[in-house]
């Protein structure tokens, strides 16, 4: 540390400190003003405060406690933010599935294939995206159509034959189709439907190979 050599020098140094103090206060006001401006005219700037938001100096133990409390609040805040994010994603996903189920039922497709005279099997899922449980529902397969207008009435079996799906859950069903021995090779199209579920329809494609 250096001290003034004479009264004149001491005066000059005091003037220097005074001048520097004025510049500092102006600079800090400018910085905090910029932060307030970004936050809006009616709100204190949360980002770059240091002057107006200062708390009076107190016991350092108390300040440590304040810091610890703020840290805990930050942890809970971030945790809550993450939970809300996950919940939001889940709700959005559910809404999209729901919307897709009603408007584009044809995208649910069941693929069956096999040789004439064999048994073809496939698995399909029934998703209950509503808030109500689905009562016991019987599934059935429509006639299948070939490109040339040929029609197939197959003795399809569903396992289980009736399904119950709680609200928000899904059920897996096994579809089994005996392919007649005397039909031509090719692709046949039809639908798997649920009795009492007018919105639910899964396309069924049967590929018969020779």
């Amino acid at each position: 540390m250096t001290f003034a050599r004479n009264p004149e020098q001491a005066g000059q140094q005091a003037q220097a400190v005074q001048s520097a103090s004025a510049v500092f206060e102006q600079l800090l006001e400018e910085v905090e003003g910029a932060a307030r401006g970004e936050a809006g005219p009616d709100q204190p700037g949360p980002a770059l405060t240091g002057h107006s938001s200062d708390q009076p100096a107190g016991d350092w133990g108390l300040n440590g406690l304040r810091a610890t409390v703020m840290q805990s609040l930050d942890l809970y805040s971030d945790l809550l933010r993450q939970i809300l994010g996950l919940y939001s994603d889940a709700v959005q996903g559910s809404l999209e599935r729901n919307r897709g189920g009603r408007q584009e039922p044809a995208h649910d497709r069941v693929e069956l294939s096999g040789m004439a005279g064999s048994m073809a099997t496939a698995r399909l899922w029934l998703h209950n995206t509503t808030a109500q449980a689905l009562p016991p529902t019987r599934l059935w397969l429509t006639e299948l159509f070939g490109h040339d207008g040929s029609r197939l009435a197959l003795a399809a079996t569903f396992d289980p034959p009736t399904v119950e799906v709680p609200a928000g859950e899904s059920a897996e069903i096994c579809l089994e189709v005996p392919i007649p021995a005397d039909i031509a090779s090719g692709t046949y199209h039809g639908y798997a439907l649920g009795l009492g579920l007018p919105e639910a329809a899964a396309q069924v494609h049967l590929l018969v190979t020779s």
Partner: protein, 320 residues
Amino acid sequence: MTEFLGPGEPSPYLYDLVREYPSRAGKGVRPALLLATCQAFGRPSDEALGAAVALEMLHNAFLIHDDVEDQSALRRGNPTLHELHGIGLAVNAGDSLAHLAMQPLVGDRALSTRLKERLVAELLMVVRQTTEGQALDLGWRRDSVVDLDPAAYLTMAGKKTCWYSTVAPLRMGAIIGSSGTAQLHALSRFGFFLGVAFQIRDDLLDLKGGSGSGKEPFGDLREGKPTLMLIHLLATAAGDDRRWLVDYLHAAPSGSSSEGACRVHDLMVRYGSLTYARDFAAAMEVEAHRAFGKAFSTVGDSEHLGFLRGMIPYMLARQS
């Protein structure tokens, strides 16, 4: 920093350049202040590492552009980046480093979202203040402004040097260490006076030059840099001395010479400008010591506080 400045392509044109200044041994004053302040406020240093790395990377980005703007030939004892690779690639590397500097802070998992938002705001304010201060410095030089007073110098130094060298490291360290509850006014005041004292000493050091400083001797005088000594000289020099000085500054830096810079130095000695600047810096140092007590009045004594106290004489007594 090495972690954030790893290998990448195009390496010979960008990432090798980006790594150049950080790989040269610097003093690390800014991260040291930031980390020690965080610890003095009671939190471990690893929570402040991201912010410290971000600030140091930003400092190195500033240095690259600063060297181009000042047409400097040496940085930390070696050729500047634009001397090695040309102005275009050097400026581009500086741009890259400045943006990469945000990465350690934004991606920091040790900090809460609220603290990260505050620290990013602090870092953006560093960019704003530093570039404003640099604009004043360069603008005054371009226009050969000769009627500056000490308050103008303090404003320029406060923005250009103090804010990012001392004020911001202290504020950012305290924000992390106290989870955003610390008093920043007293800390900022301490940082400002320490930074001003540091800048004046640094300007005085330039007049010594030599290999130890890592700078060219009388570089500031040749560039016509508005230092406190030059401002004092312009205010006190009389007659032919002042007329010659004004002409010299109008010609700088392209028309300046070693002889001219030596004559400015002689005038500074004769008119007491060096003594004036030394006394001014001493007053800033005394005030920094006073402000230190208030700045850290809310934290308990610790080795970290002792380290910070020791930074005052370290920064102000340094020879290089």
